[in-house]
């Protein structure tokens, strides 16, 4: 099914390959357990999606107040029951699935994942639990509505999703006008409706959904002989397990017990139940809000928490670092050497965190701690740590500027009163630095509100992550992301205004009315 391979997952894979011993260690530590922890995006309907209630047999998502439903969830339920273990659904970003499995954060990936050769190097796969076929999605009113075979698409402008095998099969169509690959299905649907393209290659479940969500679209299915030639590596999906996991054999047995008819039935149910196929109740925006309002609200809460707490903690880090750097060099040789070393370490910290993307830091820290130390960081704690340490690096420089802005005369005046360096900093300099850096700190806060969206890489349930899973379930990408966009804007805009007011208030009036003369 999904075969997207991002740079990031490659990096993580490399990290994993280079530490095989550690992977084994994590594995050994949790042989005996009662839970069957299954990782999925919960945002790839009809295989898996997120919903607000437990209707249609949805299962609670760990650490969140929402539920996961879909074909994968149904399969996971069957397997967990047969294994005699309790099913736990761990909502995990697509790129985070293999590392989460290898670091022992989950026991299995049931996420519509195809068992490619590439992936098989890192993880084991069970037998196939669903096989799909490729279809073309076109406009219902176009000349291609009655197409039966690939030949009928000669001359058509066709595209598919970037980095998928869907795109590579396009040239099997004789005389096709192959278009640039696109990033996501939303974009392709818009392109199709507007006539920029005549069709896109997709898989049956997505095609069924597209048709049902948008009546202007139509899915063309092909018979085996007239359609795309594909390898099972692409169209099959299997369950990913840790290398050498003894449960694979048992699970294969359970899978064999689910007949082909049963699979089709489960898939059709899933397609029927997926959030996108709800009865149309007026405006799509309202519908999305009705379905995901609580989800977005919780996401907003998480985003604000991470941004605010991260900015405050980062501010404290920045202040400590900034003030430390002002300490005069000691006269004693030994002390001076350690001062220099520590100062150098601080510079390294600042350079490294300012010089690398937060998204990469998140992945390295979150999965790295699990791999290297067998230590399972709480996702929210990890996210807070990453935001704080990142903000801290930026704030150190801002604080440095804020200290420079306090004129040297005030340092000297404090010194002349007999204050030590520490007293001068505490009483005179830091209070002014706090005021000086307030605008920049507010700016960092606003940036953090936006930038915490990259933490979706470690599956923190912040606003963007919730938006992504909502869009993955309802297939209304534009509308969903538009809502998310509006929420972000409202947040940042109101925060900016509030900060302006606070600054004004702090500065006080310009003139001073002297007290009345005493008798």
């Amino acid at each position: 099914m999904k075969k997207k391979l991002s740079i990031l997952s490659l990096v993580l894979m490399l990290l994993l390959v280079s530490m095989p011993g550690l992977t084994m260690k994590v594995q050994a530590e949790e042989t005996e357990q009662k839970e069957f922890r299954v990782g999925m995006e919960a945002g790839y309907a009809p295989f898996n999606w997120t919903q607000n209630t437990d209707e249609n047999g949805a299962v609670p998502i760990q650490g969140d107040k929402s539920y996961a439903g879909g074909y994968d969830v149904e399969i996971a339920k069957i397997i967990a029951e047969k294994l005699g273990r309790e099913l736990v659904i761990v909502k995990t970003e697509w790129d985070g699935l293999p590392p989460a499995l290898q670091s022992g954060k989950i026991d299995a990936i049931i996420a519509g994942m195809s068992p490619t050769e590439e992936r098989k190097k890192q993880i084991d796969f069970t037998d196939v639990y669903y096989e799909s076929n490729l279809v073309m999605v076109i406009r219902a009113d176009s000349d291609y509505a009655d197409a039966k075979s690939l030949e009928d698409f000669s001359g058509a402008k066709v595209t598919a999703q970037l980095n998928t095998f869907h795109y590579t099969v396009i040239n099997q169509i004789p005389g096709v006008q192959m278009q640039e690959a696109m990033d996501n299905f939303a974009a392709m649907r818009v392109a199709l409706e507007s006539g920029t393209i005549d069709g896109y290659v997709s898989e049956r479940p997505e095609g069924v959904t597209a048709e049902s969500v948008n009546p202007k679209l139509k899915m063309i299915e092909f018979s085996a002989a007239d359609g795309f030639q594909t390898s099972p590596e692409d169209t099959a999906v299997a369950i990913g397990m840790r290398k050498g996991d003894p449960d694979v054999a048992a699970i294969n047995e359970f899978l064999a017990g689910i007949s082909k008819d049963e699979r089709v039935k489960i898939m059709d149910e899933a397609i029927k139940n997926q959030p996108a196929s709800d009865e149309d109740s007026g405006s799509p925006i309202l519908k999305i809000l009705k379905q995901n309002g609580m989800l977005f609200l919780r996401g907003t809460g998480m985003t604000m928490f991470l941004a605010l707490a991260g900015t405050i903690l980062g501010g404290i880090i920045g202040l400590l670092v900034g003030v430390y750097r002002t300490i005069p060099m000691s006269e004693k040789k030994g002390k001076r050497a350690s001062q220099k070393l520590f100062g150098w370490l601080l510079n390294v910290y600042i350079e490294v965190f300012r010089g690398t993307p937060m998204i990469v830091q998140s992945a390295v820290i979150y999965y790295g701690t699990a791999l290297l130390f067998g230590f399972d960081l709480n996702r929210t704690a990890a996210a807070l740590f990453i935001v704080s340490i990142n903000t801290g690096a930026y704030m150190s420089e801002i604080v440095r500027g804020g200290i420079f802005a306090v004129d040297k005369g005030q340092f000297e005046a404090a010194q002349a009163l007999g204050m030590t360096h520490g007293q001068t900093m505490r009483k005179v300099v830091v209070p002014q630095v706090l005021r000086n850096i307030l605008p920049a700190t507010g700016n960092e806060f606003v940036i953090n509100i936006k930038d915490t969206s990259v933490l979706s890489i470690i599956s923190v349930t912040e606003l963007f992550f919730q938006g992504k899973s909502a869009a993955g379930a309802n297939y209304m990408f534009f509308q969903t992301y538009f809502i998310i966009c509006v929420i972000y804007f409202v947040l940042t805009f109101s925060i900016t205004r509030i900060l302006r007011l606070v600054e004004k208030k702090l500065d006080g009036p310009e003139a001073y009315a002297p007290l009345a003369e005493e008798e």
């Binding site: 004129d407 005046a413 009163l417 007999g418 204050m419 009483k427 001073y512 002297p514 007290l515 005493e518």
Partner: protein
């Protein structure tokens, strides 16, 4: 007369620039000493060396017969005995007038806030700023700022007050109020060392006048000695120059 400060063979250079060559100076209790001389002659550096805002290269500085350049001498405590008033006021911008005068007492002298407040109010009264205790420095004029700065230094109850051109950064109409404040202080018997370009004022308040030129004390004497009967050619030239430019 008892010596409070005694400077011997003081030397200070900034890189190649020899700023103080061989300074000997004594300040006695209750004395008002003014230091005059052209710009760049080392007056500020001398004052800053006395309270060790600059570290002298060589020489000795005694405070009540103790050498303050001894390695383990308690510097912060020494500085509390010297009040410093800067050309640029250097008030703490994060504090109001009262807090400016209290913070040193509370933080360094470890006085209670109540006691510190009483002392601060007394001294603000001396400089005529008691009606502005809640004002922030940004809300004050230059002359008012400098009077608060004097009040702040006085609140530490120092043995000696050091003034480094306290009126040079002020608009002309504000010079008078600050000089008047200082004159009042001089009459209370406070020990003061004042670097100034205000010759009339210097002549008026000084027990002793020191003329500095190119890093040395060129001439020293009573106000009359220096202003009426200067001996050195350099002193005469300096006075001639400065008095003429004043009349312009």
């Amino acid at each position: 007369m008892s010596e409070i400060i005694k400077v011997e063979h003081l030397k200070k250079s900034f890189g190649q620039n020899v700023v103080l060559k061989d300074i000997d100076l004594t300040v006695n209790k209750g004395e008002v000493v003014t230091i005059i001389g052209s710009s760049g002659s080392g007056k500020s550096t001398l004052l800053r060396c006395i309270n060790l805002l600059e570290k002298p290269d060589d020489g000795k500085i005694y405070y009540k017969n103790e050498n303050v350049l001894e390695p383990n001498y308690n510097l912060p405590k020494y500085r509390t005995h010297l009040g410093m008033v800067f050309q640029q006021f250097n008030l703490f911008n994060n504090m109001n007038v009262l807090e400016n005068c209290m913070t040193g007492q509370v933080t360094v002298l470890k006085k209670s806030r109540e006691e510190a407040k009483q002392t601060a109010l007394e001294n603000l009264k001396k400089v005529g700023m008691e009606r502005f205790i809640d004002a922030k420095p940004s809300q004050l004029s230059g002359g008012q700022k400098q009077r608060v700065a004097i009040g702040r230094a006085l609140s530490m109850n120092p043995d000696v007050m050091l003034f480094d051109e306290p009126t040079s950064a002020l608009d002309p109409e504000m010079v008078g109020e600050v000089l008047k404040t200082m004159k009042n202080l001089a009459h209370t018997g406070l020990t003061m060392v004042i670097v100034t370009h205000e010759m009339a004022f210097a002549r008026d308040v000084s027990d002793r006048v020191i003329f500095m030129d190119k890093g040395v004390i060129a001439e020293e004497g009573t106000a009359e000695d220096i202003f009426v009967n200067p001996k050195e050619k350099r002193t005469k030239e300096f006075l001639h120059r400065i008095l003429n430019s004043d009349n312009n």
